[in-house]
């Protein structure tokens, strides 16, 4: 009777064993107790002794094969008996196949493992700031902007006491006379709590006014050239691939170009030092449903008029949609703010501290001009209000800067070519 020979299970966790050597070949006669083959587990090697006598009718695996335990590896029986019914169901013909298959499978698995992994976390905005968890929490509670704080903790980490100090300084603006509110009768008054954004704007404005010496200079510049250029661009813009260029874009461009000659206005003042910037990072005040936002166009001095206009539009739109990257709300070196569309002719903008200068742009209004012949004619003039920090610059240089800006606007055709 044919007896199938199965790979024994050896040990607690052995799933497969490797056949090291066949001691008998198919066709050989074997006696009970003869070693049929040797095999090994990861722990040891063993001799397999034939449990019966007879003829080795077939071997199903070659030397080196890694065989699942309890799988038939051979058949012993009488000559002429058919060993085939005992051949393992996986139909192993040679030992080479499964080994190759296993190796290929392994390689595939390895390849899968080494597949590039997408970076898990993007760089988080502001990671350069070192802030303790508690300081972060406190800053959010008190509406303190962490970026404006210098940490006093180990390694410059912003810790709780820094935030509390900043919060106190913000509140400790010059003491106003005590205001005694009139107790309203009935429902005359509706109390609307300030939004976080509103409080942030408020804190920043207070901090700016409390922490700097601001003065504003007003003048106007002839806008004829600017209006003419704008009309030409508007008429021909689409054909030339130019975007819709606004008066504000043209003034912004003139401002950026003028700053080349006046680097002390493209600067921040902090800790008793003036930090002049080689490049102009132009902050643009944008009116949004949530309040004032001031996104920054970086390296504005490297941009063409068209590129600058596009960048300003993009940043403004992002603010309107509330989709602005918080990174883009800081890092400006000078700010431009335009109230001209409301007919405001001149105003006193508050500095975007710690910047040294801010240009307010007013409406374009006709202005009587005395000609050489003694007659009057009207010229369109645009209002310019420059606020500067007197700690950094005096009035005269500010006047010279404003004058130069006015010339750049009046000769905008040349300015855009420079």
């Amino acid at each position: 009777m044919a007896t199938p020979i199965a790979m024994p299970r050896q040990g607690q966790s052995v799933e497969t064993c490797v056949i090291l050597e066949w001691s008998k070949n198919a066709g050989d006669s074997v006696s009970e107790g003869d070693t049929l083959f040797t095999y090994e587990t990861d722990k040891a090697s063993f001799d397999f002794e034939s449990p019966v006598s007879g003829t080795l009718l077939a071997t199903f695996f070659d030397t080196g094969a890694d065989v699942a335990v309890l799988e038939n590896v051979a058949v012993v029986g009488d000559p002429g008996e058919d060993p085939e019914p005992f051949r393992p169901a996986n139909g192993v013909k040679t030992a080479v196949e499964p080994v190759v298959a296993a190796a290929a499978g392994h390689a595939a698995a390895a390849a899968h493992r080494s597949a590039p992994v997408a970076p898990v976390a993007a760089v988080i905005a502001g990671t350069k700031l070192r802030v303790s968890p508690l300081a972060r929490k406190r800053a959010s509670e008190k509406g303190v902007v962490l970026a404006s704080i210098i940490g006093s903790g180990p390694g410059g980490r912003i810790i709780e006491r820094d935030v509390l100090k900043a919060a106190v300084e913000t509140v400790a603006t010059p003491a106003a006379p005590a205001y005694v509110p009139v107790v309203p009768e009935g429902d005359d008054v509706q109390t609307v709590p300030l939004s976080t954004m509103r409080r942030t704007i408020g804190d920043r404005m207070m901090s700016s006014l409390a922490g700097s010496a601001q003065l504003t200079l007003n003048m106007s510049a002839n806008a004829t050239a600017m209006l003419g250029l704008r009309k030409r661009i508007k008429d021909a813009g689409e054909k030339l691939g130019l975007s819709n260029i606004t008066i504000n874009d043209l003034v912004s461009f003139a401002l950026v170009k003028t700053l080349r000659e006046f680097p002390e206005f493209n600067a921040l003042i902090a800790d008793g030092a003036l930090q002049r910037y080689r490049h102009v990072h132009l902050a643009v005040a944008v009116d949004t449903p949530r309040g004032l936002m001031v996104p920054v166009v970086r390296n504005a001095d490297a941009l063409s008029l068209n590129a600058l206009a596009q960048a300003i539009k993009k940043q403004a739109a992002s603010c309107q949609e509330g989709a602005i990257n918080p990174d883009d709300l800081s890092g400006g070196t000078i700010t431009i703010s335009n109230l001209g569309s409301f007919g405001v002719e001149s105003f006193t903008p508050v500095l975007n501290a710690p910047q040294v200068a801010l240009l307010g742009v007013g409406a374009i209004v006709p202005r009587p001009v005395l000609a050489d012949d003694g007659s009057y004619h009207a010229e369109p003039h645009i209002g310019l209000s420059l606020t500067v920090d007197h700690r950094a610059v005096d009035g005269a240089p500010a006047g010279r800067f404003l004058q130069a800006l006015g010339k750049a606007i009046e000769s905008i055709d040349l300015t855009v070519m420079s």
Binding site: R9, A44, L70, S132, P154, E160
Partner: protein, 822 residues
């Protein structure tokens, strides 16, 4: 060191020689005919049946492991199976003599001993007692699975109960004797006198000594058999166990009816191999194992070699040894010659022995040989023997079918019941006394000289003006522990204490001064310098039902008792699925001043091991309250003490140390000083260092530090800690443990997880250097100093105005040291 025993120089220096008596080797020679008459047919057939049961049980496991099936029933068993095929006669012969109330402890190869002892107990217990055991064990759960058959006797039912409970345990089923938490190498069933088997070689040796101590100290009848292998004689703790078990004092100093040797038989199942190492001729030098007895005591431990291949020779030997035990002349040592036909485990290729050797032993197979003798003497014919074998196969098949059926024998399901295993890690009971009998004491407590001395001291550590009292004027830390321990001795009659220098000397640090006068030897005694056996025997004493306090004179000696504390004391409650309790207090004294091997705080080693409760009080009030709590608990409590503060009075608690009994719940940290700016958490005597640091922070930098003493390390309630951290937002942790691997890193990490948003700085741990502890004169460079704590606050948490650090505590330095492994 008792004064009553004088060391006489004349005797000690006298010339002479030691005479040994011959040690008997295989002397059994009673003719079988005589035994047939003496035993009678029924007993002899039962001996045969019991051996066949063991053989078939192990064969079944071997089939499952190597062929995945037994009699056509397929099963895959991943766990271990260290089989004892060939050793059946040794197990059955021994159990034949033992009473149900005698205890056996075993090894990783003890399936046979479990079954033999169980079968013996079934034979000897009355039916109603058997039914009571079966119907109450795990609420009758196992009994309901086994189901009584028609016309089946209670004993037949009990045999199936035994086989099923053991097998289900081996297969890790919740319906096993230990709910599957013990397994093949640890299975046991105490109602039949089967005590834990041990996967650590020789692990049962000192545990057995503790069990014998329990029987002796509590006047429990019966004896204890320690079944360990010949290979275990190479293990230090086994030698320690022999020493502890044969102390002269049992026969010379213990009083009244306590005088006399321990009721214990060390039975070495000598199968000639420690796994693959051949003990005779290769790995050991004893030649014949029984020789060892001659080196232990003048009685030579009554050692002899017996033929473990003949069950009747084994019975003869155990009967004689039992008489010696009953005459209080124990303990005894047996070298039971046997042979393991099967491999060490199924992965054993038997590469270390020749086939001829196995064949020679198979030729003398004890079961076949015994069967032939029975047939030859017409005790029963071969058909009857065949019938026995067939019925056994049916029994085993039946047990296997039930034990492998997932619907009948499910495993624990920790994902469905996450508390299943955690719930048995501790017994968490509060029991003041483990027996109701009167406590044996020598005098009323109030007459004790130590009690009178303490009565003259102030319960507070400071006077009315808040000035610290001189050391002799206040109740000290050591007094507080004494009061709790004394209370325990006058409350729980089972309580015993032992260790090095516990009696007369009163403990190396005078904690027990006064107890020698109060207690008889059987409750307080000195042990040999055998830390392993001290802790292992306490484990045995505790698991048998008594309460015990043992002591390691220095924490540094914990390494000597590593297995006993970490693998034995900590594990047996859970491995018994809650059937055993472990009311053991291990006092560990943390040193200082004595250099590298006597001054280490190793609390972190203990907190790392699941199953231990770990406390480290730092004040007299806490020491007394926690010791009181430990002495009414049913769990192993490692009670750390600090030698720095044995003489310190109570400085934190205004009302001082209460005179009466009170408990401090284990697991509760304590706020020692309130503050709002910083939390300093300490473990152990570092509390006092931290208090000094807090003074500096207050006086120089205007910071109010809150001091929290953990008191307990495991378990630990984090709530008070988190409450403090949420208030102060800053936390520093300090202890005398070496910084790397300190348990405080664990606490710090947990605080980071649980209070992250409230933290103004990372929790900072200040520990000792990762060095050897240097000499006392250099200790200030090793142990945390108050300035180190201030430096760490300045550098890592809150820069202090004008502070100059006393040392380099920069991150760069930390990186450098870490690279160097220091």
């Amino acid at each position: 060191m008792p004064k009553s025993l004088s060391i006489n120089p004349e005797k000690a220096r006298k010339s002479g020689s030691i005479r040994f008596r011959p040690i008997p080797v295989n002397r059994y020679d009673t003719p079988f005919e005589e035994e047939v008459t003496a035993y009678g047919r029924e007993a002899l057939v039962r001996i045969y049946r019991d051996m066949v049961i063991i053989r078939e049980f192990e064969t079944m496991l071997n089939q499952i492991k190597t062929a995945g099936q037994y009699h056509g029933q397929e099963y895959y068993h991943a766990g271990p199976a260290h089989l004892s095929i060939g050793q059946e006669a040794s197990a059955v012969g021994q159990a034949y003599v033992l009473e149900p109330g005698d205890y056996v402890f075993g090894s990783h190869r003890s399936h046979g001993e479990i079954l033999a002892k169980g079968l013996s107990a079934i034979e000897k217990l009355p039916d109603d007692r058997l039914m009571e055991i079966m119907s109450t064990y795990f609420g009758g759960k196992i009994l309901s699975i086994v189901e009584a058959g028609k016309d089946e006797s209670v004993k037949q039912l009990a045999v199936r109960f035994l086989l099923y409970g053991t097998l289900a345990e081996i297969f890790a089923r919740e319906t096993g004797f230990n709910k599957g938490l013990g397994g093949s190498m640890h299975a046991f069933f105490t109602p039949f006198g089967i005590y834990p088997n041990n996967a650590i070689v020789g692990g049962s040796a000192d545990i057995s000594v503790g069990a014998a101590l329990y029987k002796k100290c509590n006047r429990e009848p019966g004896l204890v058999v320690c079944n360990i292998g010949d290979g275990s004689l190479g293990c230090g703790p086994v030698w320690e166990a022999l020493c502890l078990a044969t102390m002269d004092q049992f026969k010379k100093l213990w009083e009244g009816d306590y005088r006399g040797g321990l009721p214990l038989i060390f039975n070495f199942m000598n199968n000639h191999y420690g796994m693959g190492g051949q003990t005779m001729g290769e790995t050991m030098g004893f030649d014949i194992l029984a020789r060892i007895g001659a080196g232990v005591n003048p009685e030579q431990m009554h050692a002899e070699r017996i033929d473990g291949y003949n069950p009747l020779a084994v019975i003869d030997a155990f009967r004689r040894k039992k008489q010696i035990i009953e005459a209080r002349e124990g303990p005894c040592l047996l070298d039971t010659v046997t042979y393991r036909i099967s491999g060490h485990s199924p992965s054993d290729a038997s590469s270390y022995r020749e086939k001829d050797e196995i064949a020679a032993w198979e030729q003398q197979d004890s079961i076949a040989d015994f069967g032939e003798k029975l047939a030859a003497r017409n005790v029963c014919d071969s058909q009857e023997l065949e019938a026995v074998r067939e019925s056994v196969v049916e029994l085993i098949r039946n047990s296997m079918a039930r034990a492998t059926d997932d619907s009948v024998s499910p495993r624990m399901n920790p994902s469905a019941d996450p508390g299943a295993i955690g719930g048995v890690m501790f017994s968490n009971q509060r029991i003041e006394k483990l027996d109701d009998r009167a406590c044996e004491v020598n005098m009323p407590l109030e007459e004790n000289p130590r009690v009178k001395q303490i009565a003259r001291r102030s319960r507070k550590g400071v006077d009315a003006e808040g000035k610290v009292l001189p050391k002799g004027k206040a109740v000290q830390y050591r007094d507080a522990i004494f009061e709790a321990v004394a209370h325990g001795f006058y409350t729980d009659p089972t309580l015993v204490a032992y260790g090095e220098e516990n009696r007369d000397w009163g403990g190396a640090f005078a904690v027990y001064r006064g107890l020698t006068e109060a207690l008889p030897y059987n409750r307080l005694f000195n042990s040999p310098i055998s830390e392993g056996a001290i802790c292992g025997s306490a484990t045995g004493y505790g698991m048998c039902g008594g309460r015990v306090i043992v002591e390691l004179m220095y924490c540094d000696f914990l390494g000597r008792a590593g297995d006993e504390v970490f693998n034995q004391m900590a594990k047996w409650q859970a491995m018994s699925a809650g059937e055993l309790r472990m009311p053991v207090v291990l006092r560990v004294s943390v040193g200082s001043k004595y250099g590298a091997q006597h001054s280490q705080d190793w609390t972190s080693l203990c907190t790392h091991i699941p199953g231990l409760k770990v406390v480290f009080p730092a004040t007299p009030y806490d020491a007394k309250g926690l010791m009181n709590a430990a002495l009414v608990a049913t769990d192993p409590v490692v009670f750390f003490e600090s030698q720095r503060i044995y003489d310190i009075g109570e400085l934190f608690r205004e009302e001082g140390v209460p005179e009466g009994f009170y408990e401090i719940p284990i697991g509760e940290p304590d706020v020692k000083r309130e503050g709002k700016d910083l939390t300093i958490i300490t473990a152990g005597a570092t509390l006092y260092t931290a208090a000094k640091a807090a003074d500096i922070l207050r006086d120089k930098y205007g910071l109010e530090a809150e001091l929290i003493d953990l008191r307990s390390l495991t378990p630990l309630n984090y709530e008070p800690i988190l409450e403090s951290v949420r208030k102060t937002h800053r936390v520093l942790l300090a202890s005398d443990a070496c910084q790397r691997g300190s348990y405080l890193n664990d606490v710090a990490q947990s605080i980071s997880e649980m209070a992250f948003d409230d933290l103004d700085a990372p929790p900072v741990v200040v520990g000792s250097r990762n060095w050897i502890t240097p000499a006392h004169e250099l200790e200030k460079s090793f142990f945390p100093q108050p300035e180190w704590i201030v430096d760490a606050v300045h550098e890592r948490i809150l820069p202090l105005d004008g502070h100059q650090t006393s040392q380099n505590v920069t991150i760069e330095e930390k990186l450098r040291l870490s690279r160097q492994g220091i």
